[in-house]
Amino acid sequence: MTKQIAIAGNEGPKVRSDCRVELEMLQSGGIQFQLKSKVKALYGDKIQVLVFEILEHFGVKNARIDIVDAGALDYIIAARVETAIKQLLDNDKEYLPEFLPENQYTTTKDRFRFTRLYLPGNNPSMMLNAGLHSPDGVILDLEDSVAPARKQEARYMVRNTLRALDLYGAERMVRINQGDMGIEDLKYIIPHNVNLILVPKCETAAYIHKLEKAIDALKPKHPMYLMPIIESALGVENAYEIASASENVVALAIGLEDYTADLGTQRTREGKESEWARSRLVNAAKAARIQPIDSVFSDVEDEEGLRNTVGVSKRMGFEGLGCIHPRQIAVIKDCFKPTEEEIDKACKIADAFHKAEEKGLGVVALGSKMIDPPVVKRAMKTIDLAIKFNLISKNWRKDYVN
């Protein structure tokens, strides 16, 4: 390697919970450590111990390391230091922070995915409290929100985050890069209990198969769910094939910025230009018995606009949206919540169904009206949703009869 000085991380007046590491390998003289930090009086010693431990782990004996810190937690400092070391040293070792026991949960295929919060994978401060806003999923993004030159840095950051940051029960998602770079990303996430992988610009079932092969080679401890994102005209045409490419594909999302660009048109608020693609995607997903998920709403200030958009999505059959700001989460969930009227109606229908079943009747009737099986099915879905949102209890029928 010819590079002499490595730099990783960020500093600046607006940077918080991050640090900048400058590392130079030396021939002799041991470790020259320098720390500038506003938390130096409180954590300076701890940071030094950590940095020396990492250097030793990688066998670095002589080096100058300067850290400018803005309150970065240990796992963040560790990711930055490792990034710097790997720029100067070919080394297959990894320095892994402690894997919190509370991060080792799995999720289920059919869990709700109304909201999934995008977080730039190289921006630790935005991730710190992400789980507290109760999104259904947290997406640590390695793709579009990470500059090409910072991709490797982001991989260490996302890996360490998956291990050391409590996401408070949100489904742990990572959006990998496209193509082969995405396959390379897997090494940094599969061993660290990612629950679901978002596959950007997915156009063919063949890519899903290729990806799954690479995932299997890393021997995940549980099924690795996939959410392909359809972002091109070809992807839309192949939507059903992609949706049914594997048991592990649990949802199909649409990315409208890229899709409209591919069409050579503009994304508008009314969304006429993507109506067909969205309908096609909903249909493909439902045909494959998985969740269709809508794109993001990009004006974070416009709550009313978001509500309208979610309303349209819900009516089209979508079962979730992407969020680019935590404040969108509660609004979207609220929109997907069944209304009191809907719940009331569903309970009546479901109750009639159960009564008919108990009496061994083949036909469900509500008053003098016959109820068709699909209507019952829809009512059951509404009730499931109401239970999930804590709007009625699991034993709603007991309350209902009383």
Partner: protein
């Protein structure tokens, strides 16, 4: 010279005497009984003042000389102009020019614009600051470079100290956006309009000499007369009294941080579930981003329920003015205006009322407004597991912030502190705060993004919230969570030298601040 230290009622070691004056250690809330009569300034006579009411002199320098400026005096100024103040620095430049030494500067608060005071402190023109010390001044004092020992008081405590004669003000200089030659003055008119002049009330009443300086002299009478000319010795016209854009901002803003909004939302929800938000209730909330958001969430609840507050104590700002205009509160009782909308509202609306530390905060009075508030929303740099809180020092031991009205507000019926669990890795919930500014027995609820802790003393609140879906935990659990995320911090190191004391609202010493080891 080493000072004898004594243990106060909170177990903190505080000096028996500072700056040659004996101190009373904190005895417990409401335990100290003041004795004697209030301080009174010398009797004046109209025979010494011009009958035509024109008390103008040519310059600030002349006014200071005529007021008898000399070594060892106490000079007071006020923070109505916040970071746009142009007068305080001039006073001490004049003192330096006249060769005067060992002054005590007694501001109601200091700001970054007062950094030039460091040269006066270094050269001995100023012996010490008794008031807030932030930024560069805080650093200077914390490193043990100030000759005298600093004293930090709350806004109410400052009134109390002046009224009780603990602090004798030789010369008060009141910078006013509008004044007449007689000395009547207000804060609502002129380029430097700042709303009100309440912090200068005590000084006008009790100082030996009172100077009013303005860049906006109007013929008698200057109405409203927030400061009465009958207390004033000299008036001075200057070219520019303050930098208006630094006095009130046009941009007080609700926070956009989703984490802070979550804390604010939890705070409003907590108050609601505790039954505090009712028709005719009252609250006080600061002008910081999170506090403003709490106010907005309160307003939403009032609007939804079609009820209103009887009064809001402020720090006024555009959001409160909107509440007033929308009829969501009957009154704003204002201690200082934070933006131009606040100034406009105070000027235009009779139910936007100017108040002072005397009416709102003075503990040695026959009651005050702060204790009548149903809920107050306050900040802090640290809170310990006994609910004691610190607002004056940073976790690294440096003086960071003044007390403001914070201590005085602790007497509100319910005191809620919405705080992040940690700031840039620095835990906010600790085993023991660096400096006690307020005793835990007065602090009721800590609301963080990761959980809410109710003071075990508030069994009524615990009972009311027992079936709540809010994340209610113990303060020890909050501390454990902060330590788990951030790691247990090392304590800052201090020398034995006391660089400042923190006064409680009754003039007793609640804690001492020591020199930081560098």
């Amino acid at each position: 010279m080493s000072t004898k230290m004594i243990k106060n009622a909170l177990g903190r070691m505080v000096p028996e005497a500072i700056n040659g004056e004996k101190q009373i250690p904190f005895k417990g809330v409401g335990k100290h009984r003041p004795e004697g009569r209030k301080y009174a300034p010398p009797i004046a006579t109209c025979a010494d003042y011009p009958e035509n009411g024109d008390k103008r002199v040519a310059s600030l320098k002349e006014a200071l000389i005529k007021s008898g400026l000399k070594d060892g005096m106490t000079i007071s100024t006020h923070h109505h102009f916040r970071d746009g103040d142009l007068i305080a620095n001039q006073i001490f430049d004049i003192a330096a020019e006249l060769g005067v030494k060992d002054l005590r500067w007694f501001p109601s608060a200091s700001f970054p614009c007062h950094e030039p005071m460091i040269k006066q402190l270094e050269s001995g023109v100023i012996n010490r600051i008794e008031g807030s010390m932030n930024g560069a001044l805080g650093r200077f004092a914390s490193e043990g470079k100030m000759n005298g020992v600093g004293v930090l008081r709350s806004h109410g405590g400052r009134y109390q100290a002046v009224q009780d004669g603990e602090v004798h003000i030789d010369i008060a200089v009141i910078a006013a956006p509008a004044a007449d030659p007689f000395g009547n003055a207000n804060g609502v008119h002129g380029d430097a309009a700042c709303g009100l002049l309440g912090f200068a009330l005590a000084d006008s009443q009790f100082a030996d000499k009172v100077i009013v300086a303005t860049d906006n002299i109007v013929p008698f009478p200057c109405i409203p007369w927030q400061i009465h000319g009958n207390y004033v010795d000299y008036t001075v016209e200057v070219d520019v009294i303050g930098i208006s854009e630094k006095i009130v901002s046009g941009t007080t803003r609700i926070t956009k941080s989703p984490d802070r909004l979550r804390i604010a939302e939890l705070t409003a929800e907590f108050c609601d579930q505790a039954g505090i938000i009712q028709d005719g209730f009252s609250f006080q909330s600061g002008a910081g981003g999170t506090s403003l958001a709490v106010g907005e969430f309160f307003a939403n609840k009032l609007r939804e329920r079609k009820i209103k507050a009887r009064f809001v104590r402020a720090g006024s700002n555009k959001y409160l003015v909107k509440m007033l205009e929308e009829g969501l509160t009957d009154y704003i009782l204002d201690g200082q205006t934070f933006d131009l909308e606040g100034v406009r509202s105070m000027r235009d609306y009779p139910n936007h009322v100017n108040t002072s530390p005397f009416t709102s905060y003075n503990y040695h009075g026959k009651g005050n407004f702060a204790s009548m508030l149903d809920v107050v929303i306050l900040g802090a740099t640290e809170v310990d597991v006994n609910f004691n809180a610190n607002v004056v020092t940073h976790s690294d031991g440096y003086l960071l912030h003044g007390i403001g009205g914070w201590q005085n507000c602790l007497f509100g019926k319910t005191v809620v502190l919405p705080l992040p669990l940690f700031r840039d890795r620095i835990p906010v919930i600790v085993d023991e705060v660096t400096t006690i500014t307020g005793p835990g027995e007065l602090i009721d609820v800590i609301i963080t993004e990761r959980g809410i802790a109710i003071n075990p003393k508030r069994t009524d609140l615990i009972e009311k919230l027992k079936n709540s879906d809010l994340p209610i935990v113990s303060i020890e659990e909050l501390k454990a969570e902060a330590d788990k995320i951030c790691g247990v911090p090392k304590k800052p190191e201090f020398t034995d030298k006391v660089i400042a004391v923190i006064k409680w609202v009754d003039g007793t010493v609640i804690d001492a601040v020591r020199q930081v080891k560098t």
